[in-house]
C-alpha cells in the first residue's frame, strides 16, 4: 500500500503535521508574559518552562538546546522568543543558534521597559505571523517526511503482549517507507540494553547500550557522590519486560542512540534518551525534530505535548481506563488488519485530525535538569 499524508512543507525540507506559532520563554521570569501573548492569538502555543537562569555547564546547555530545538521543530511555522533581559539564557544567544529557515524574532521585558509593552509588541508580531500561517496549505507528502517518536507509559506485561504484534509491525512499515522513527529509551526499556546493542551497527550506540547492563544511572547532586551518579541494578522481571518492550521497535536495525536535543543523521530507526516523566520525554522528542508521537500504554494518558500530536494506543480494558483519551484500541482482530488501521489513523492525525488529547487541549512542555540550579 502507498502511504502519504497532507503536511506543511518547510523551507529546510522538513514537514509539519501542525502549523503552530510558538511563543517561547527563555526563562521562567518571562513565562507569564509568553503565556499572555500566546493566549491573545489563536493558533499560537505557549512554550513555557521553569528553567533558564542560574544554570551552569551541561544543565544550561540542555535548556538552551531544548529551546533551540523546539523553535526549529517543523510543527512550528514561526517562533517568538520572549526573554526577561538579565537571564543566563540570553535571547540573543538563542537567536544565534536557531537555524534561519523560518520567521524567528526575539523580544525582552527589560529592553522594552516592562511586561505591558512586551505583551503589546509580542501580540503585534504574532498576529502578523498568524495571518501568514493561515494562508498556508497542506500538501501531499511521502512518509519519509515524518519523524515519529514512540514511547511506552505505565504499561504492564499483558498490555505489551497484546500491543507488540501490531505496533512492532507499524514501526517496521514506517521504516520501510523511509520515515524516521525514534523510540524513547526510558527506564523501562533500558534493561534491554544488551538486546538492543545487538541490533545496531553504530559502535558508539553499541557501547552505550551495553553499558546499561550496569544498571540505572542518573545524576544526583544533593550529596556529593563519587561518580555523581546512582546505579541500581535491573531485576530479572525488569529485563523480561524490557525485552518485550524492545519488540515494539520492530525488526529494523537501530541507526543510533540520540542524546538530548540530538537530531537523527539518517532515516530509519533510532533510540532517544528519555525519562519516566513523559512530558520531559515528549519535549525532548519535539526538540529532536519529531512531528508526531505514538504513546503506548495500558491506559489513556492525561497529557500530551504542547507541540506534537500524541496518538495513544492501548489494549481493550474491562475497566475503560480513560477511553476518551485514547486514539486506537487494540482488539482481537487479526494483527495485519490492525496494522493498516493504525497506519490509517497515523496518516489522518499527521494530516490534521485532532488526537483525543488535542481535542481536550491537554499538552505540556518541560525541560529536564541534569545539574543543580545555583
Amino acid at each position: 500500500m502507498d502511504y502519504s499524508f497532507e503536511g506543511y512543507l518547510r523551507n529546510d525540507g522538513t514537514a509539519g503535521t501542525r502549523n503552530y506559532i510558538g511563543v517561547v520563554c527563555s526563562v521562567v521570569c518571562s513565562s507569564v508574559i509568553a503565556k499572555e501573548i500566546s493566549e491573545s492569538v489563536p493558533g499560537t502555543i505557549p512554550i513555557i518552562h521553569s528553567n533558564g537562569c542560574a544554570q551552569l555547564g551541561d544543565d544550561f546547555q540542555l535548556t538552551k538546546n531544548m529551546l533551540v530545538g523546539i523553535s526549529a521543530n517543523p510543527n512550528l511555522y514561526s517562533a517568538l522568543l520572549v526573554g526577561l533581559g538579565c537571564e543566563t539564557n540570553q535571547v540573543s544567544g538563542l537567536l544565534k543558534s536557531i537555524p534561519k529557515t523560518k520567521p524567528i524574532e526575539g523580544i525582552g521585558i527589560q529592553q522594552l521597559a516592562g511586561g505591558e509593552n512586551t505583551t503589546k509588541k509580542g501580540v503585534q508580531i504574532v498576529e502578523q505571523w498568524a495571518k501568514e500561517a493561515a494562508v498556508m496549505k497542506r500538501e501531499n507528502l511521502p512518509l519519509s517526511s515524518l519523524t515519529v517518536g514512540i514511547v511506552t507509559v505505565d504499561i504492564d506485561e499483558d498490555s505489551l503482549k497484546r500491543i507488540v504484534p501490531v505496533v512492532g509491525k507499524v514501526i517496521d512499515l514506517l521504516v520501510e517507507n523511509d520515515a524516521t522513527v525514534m523510540m524513547g529509551l526510558t527506564d523501562t526499556l533500558e534493561p534491554a540494553g544488551l538486546l538492543l546493542a545487538e541490533r545496531t551497527n553504530s559502535q558508539e550506540a553499541k557501547d552505550k547500550l551495553r553499558k546499561l547492563e550496569e544498571g540505572l544511572h542518573r545524576k544526583r547532586w544533593k550529596e556529593i557522590h563519587k561518580d555523581q551518579s546512582a546505579a541500581r541494578s535491573f531485576s530479572k522481571e525488569e529485563k523480561l519486560l524490557a525485552a518485550l518492550e524492545a519488540q515494539m521497535t520492530g525488526t529494523s536495525p537501530i541507526e543510533s542512540l540520540l542524546g538530548y536535543n540530538e537530531k537523527p543523521k539518517e532515516k530509519g530507526l533510532h533510540l532517544i534518551v528519555g525519562t519516566s516523566n513523559m512530558v520531559e520525554t515528549f519535549s525532548n522528542m519535539a526538540s529532536s525534530g519529531c512531528n508526531l508521537v505514538i504513546v503506548v500504554s495500558s491506559r489513556g494518558i492525561l497529557t500530551g505535548s504542547v507541540a506534537l500530536p500524541c496518538m495513544t494506543i492501548t489494549p481493550q480494558n474491562p475497566y475503560g481506563s480513560f477511553d476518551e483519551l485514547v486514539d486506537y484500541t487494540i482488539s482481537e482482530e487479526d494483527p495485519s488488519v490492525q496494522v493498516e488501521k493504525v497506519m490509517k489513523e497515523l496518516v489522518e492525525i499527521s494530516s490534521g485530525k485532532q488526537t483525543s488529547l488535542e481535542k481536550l487541549e491537554l499538552g505540556e512542555f518541560s525541560i529536564p535538569h541534569v545539574g543543580t540550579t545555583f
Binding site: 542560574a54 551552569l56 538579565c86 527589560q110 516523566n277 492525561l302 481536550l360 529536564p368 543543580t372
Partner: protein, 385 residues
Amino acid sequence: MQTFEGYRRPNGSIGVRNHVIVMNTVGELASFTKKIAQLVPGVIPVVHQGGQAQFPEDYKQTIRTLKGTAGHPNVSSALFLGMGDDPLAKELEELLKDDNHHVHAIYFNKDKPVSEVLKEGKQWLEEAMDRSKTEKTETADVTELIIGLECGGSDAWSGITANPAIGACSDFIVRDGGTSILAETTEAIGAEHILAKRAIDPEVGKKFLKIVKEYEERIKDTGEDIRSANPTPGNMAGGLTTLEEKSLGCIKKGGNSTLMEVIDYAEAPSKKGFIFMDTPGYDVESVAGLAAGGAQIVLFSTGKGSPTGSPIVPVIKIGTNPRLYEIMSEHIDVNAGKIIEGKNTIEEIGEEIYQKIMATANGSMTASEKHKNQEFAIWRLAETI
C-alpha cells in the same frame, strides 16, 4: 506595635491572603490542574513537573514544598489532583488534614471517566470559594509575620540602596518580634564569614558555613565554576564584577540581626527572629521555598527589573535605582533609588518598606499580584529517573 487584619487558620497560623488553590502531585496532571482552575474564577493553579520518578531526596523535597504551599496560612483551601496509584496525593491530604487544613484530594482512577473527575473537582472548588468568602479576618501583630528576603536581576546599586534598605526593614521586624528569612545560599558564597559571625551559637554558625561549602562543592563537582556563570550577563551589564561583590550586596538584605537558625529548603522555621534558608539563587525556586517555609510576604529587590511573583504570597518589589522606577514602575512597589538621589536615607526607605509590608498584609495588592505573576518551581536535587 504594628498590626494587620489577617485570616486565622485552625492550626493557629495567620494568613494575609485567602487563596483557593489547586495543585498536581505528578507532572502528568499539570494540564488538567490548569483546566480545573479555569472552571472556577479566582482559583489559582500551582503546577510543577516533579512528584514522579524522583530519587528520595527530590521526592521528600517535593512533598515538603507541596505540603508547605497547600498548608500555607495564605491558603484557605487546597485541592490536590493525583493519579489513582499515586501515594503522594493521599499522603499530602492526610498530613494536612492532621494539621486541620481544608484540603481534599481527587484521583484519576481507571474506572472513572475524566469528565467525572473534572465535575468533582469543579464542585469542590466552588464550595471552597464560597467558604473562603465567609471567612472573617482578625487583628494580629507583626510578631506573627514571617518575611522572606530575595533579590533578582541585581545591579551595582542593589548592594547600595535596595538591599541595605531591606536589611534595615528586616532589623525593624526582628526588633518588633517578627521573623525574617534570608535565602539564596549561592549568593552568600564569598561573604559567608560575615553572616556566620552573627550566629546565635557556634552550632548555627557551623551549619551555615556547611551549607555554603556544600553548595560550592556541589557545583564544582559537576566540573563547573559558579564564578563563571554568576554574576549573570545582566548583573554584569548592571555593573557587578565578581561573585563576592554580588554576595556582599546580597547579604545586606539580612541587616545586622543575630542569626537564629539555619533551615532546609521549604522548611518552616522553629524560631523567631533572623533565619537563613538553604535555597538556590534562582529566584522563582527560592521564592517557592520561602513561601513553602511559611513566609506570608516576600521582599524582592531588583535592579534590572524582574516581574516574577508567587501563586500564594504577595511579593513586594523594591527597585534599586531611579531609572528603573521611571521606566518599569508597573513592576515596582518601592523605589529605593531615592537613596541615590539623596531624597531619603537607607533607614527611611527601610521604614517605607515596613509600611508597605503592613499595607500588603492588610490586603493592598502588590505589582506582581496585579499582573498575576504566579511563577512556581521546585529546586531539583537529582535527574528524573
